[in-house]
Amino acid sequence: MITGVRSRGTRLRSTVFGYANLVPFVFFALFPFYFMLITSFKSNAELYSLKSVPLWIQSGVITDHYRYLFARTEFLTWIGNSLIISVAATGISLVISLLAGYSLARLRFPGVGSFGTAVFITYLVPPTLLFLPLSQVVVWLGIADTIWALIVTYPTFLVPFSTWLLMGYFRTIPREIEECALVDGASRMQTLLRIALPMAIPGIVCVVLFGFTLTWNEFIYALTFISQSTNKTAIVGVTADLIRGDIYYWGSLMAGAVLASVPVVACYVFFLDYYVSGLTAGAVKG
């Protein structure tokens, strides 16, 4: 953070500059969400009328779309499934990438570089192709049509990026601190857990947010590995049940979009606090 002795005038100008420049970004980011929100509360008559104003609700807020979502679809079950899958998959990925990231960043042994690159290559095949042979693997493992299929396969696309991110953080930790610890008699594992880990907290938070978001929004694996309605994830369920041929239940779709965003937003809000305090602590430590 840029601070120092500056005049009040400069600080005021700087603040105004900051806010003014943020306005277009915030507008660009929020407008579609606002639009989806009001669409979910508009009556169908107003939604499809060419004469209505699309920017706000004119004929009264209705909750029919939300009620349809809850009454006629298994929305809550789907949200529950998504939550379990996202938490489990993110947790597993976090542990795996922490260990791997530390190892690749800190330790020297033959094959470090090539493993690091190999891990990256996995991203080059898009999931829209990978899902086919992967569905075979899922069947062989006997987990087809269960949420375990997703919990087990999601780490495949989370681990590479998370590993790299954590590698970056682990590298910023001065070697001397760790070497001191080792000389003092700590084991390598202790060094990792007590010294390296706390210094990588911002990276860990990033990985958790990244992982949760990606697993929550994932579509193609969730579509193909799961068929039973009670095992579906939120996104697949909403798009499957609310788009019927050439009839789109726009209001309920948008309601589904709004509600499906809530858990992820909650996750961010919770972690953003942690993130901020972690960042501030980092700045103070310098």
């Binding site: 900051g18 330790l107 570089g113 095949v125 192709l129 996104i235």
Partner: protein, 312 residues
């Protein structure tokens, strides 16, 4: 796992117990290193190696959805290159990725700089800016589709009222340049938070002393940015740009929902054309060839970027 120093002393001084020998073995750098990588390695070997290999095999064989085929070498690749639609998709993908990536990188760094400031309501602002990344893509793209709809577009409605457009407004998803602009916009909208937040994390870890030193030296804010911030951001930026390139090249959802590759194949990307040819048309071999067409080139990009990052 965690043993007190007394046990360690005992192990070093007295009779080497089996437990102590195992501990010693585990403490070696390469053993520990391999051990930590083991979970990731198992994951990749079991769940990625086979599908990855199969995907490559698809592209080199005459594979159809209903029946496995025989090896045909580069036959599929030659066939798709002969097709004008595929060549169009290649062009589209490059245009799409280049423009989207540039926007995301430039705007992302700019946004990260703004968010790094000590403003009131920081948390709210950061949360607000993150929203596009957080809303499920499959659903937010539908929302955008509604915003660009040929009859009900709110973009056109607002544009006309503000005098920026003449009625009925651009045919967003029906004319090729507009359609490309529309899908790029949605991609930038969705990808910007990813850039901004990751760069922000990088920004924040730059020690304050560097800035203070630069300020004392009399550097302007732009000079501070150019000579202090940007060089120190390079590693983070390099990784994010690398990942974003791959994700953007392989983007599927946006084009699939908004235009299905139209109008007249001018927004088809590798992933959407591969889906159409491979899964809907049934020719998995060609579909895989389309998906993997960029593999060698992207592989090179990955290789060189990683070398660059590792050198830093």
């Amino acid at each position: 796992m965690a043993i007190g120093s007394r046990a360690l002393q005992a192990a070093a001084v007295g009779v080497p117990s089996r437990f102590a020998r195992v501990r010693e073995w585990w403490e070696q750098e390469h053993v520990f290193g391999y051990g930590l990588i083991l979970p990731a390695f198992v994951l990749i070997a079991c769940l990625v190696a086979y599908p990855f290999g199969m995907a490559i095999y698809f592209s080199l064989s005459d594979y159809w959805v209903g029946s496995p085929g025989s090896f045909v070498g580069f036959g599929n690749f030659l066939e798709i290159v002969r097709n004008e639609v595929f060549r169009q998709a290649v062009w589209n993908s490059f245009v799409f990725t280049a423009i989207a990536l540039t926007c995301k990188a430039v705007l992302g760094v700019w946004l990260a700089l703004l968010l790094a400031r000590n403003l009131r309501g920081k948390r709210l602002l950061r949360g607000a800016v993150l929203l596009p990344w957080v809303i499920p893509t499959a659903l937010s793209t539908l929302g955008w589709g509604w915003m660009f709809d040929s009859l009900y577009s709110v973009v056109n409605w607002t544009g006309i009222r503000l005098g920026l457009m003449t009625a009925p407004g651009p045919n967003w998803l029906g004319m090729s340049t507009y359609a490309m602009a529309a899908v790029i916009t949605v991609n930038v909208w969705r990808g910007l938070p990813f850039f901004a937040i990751t760069v922000l994390a990088g920004l924040v870890s730059i020690p304050r002393e560097y800035y203070e030193a630069a300020e004392v030296d009399g550097a302007s804010s732009f000079a501070r940015f150019w000579h202090v911030t940007l060089p120190l951001l390079k590693p983070v930026l390099a990784v994010v740009i690398l990942f974003s390139t791959i994700f953007t090249f392989n983007d599927f959802n946006i084009v699939y929902v908004l235009t299905r590759g139209g109008p007249v194949n001018t927004t088809h990307l590798f992933a959407t054309l591969a889906y159409q040819v491979g899964l809907q048309g049934g020719n998995l071999g060609q579909g895989a060839a389309i998906s993997l067409f960029m593999l060698p080139m992207l592989g090179m990009v990955v290789f060189f970027q990683l070398r660059y990052i590792r050198r830093e």
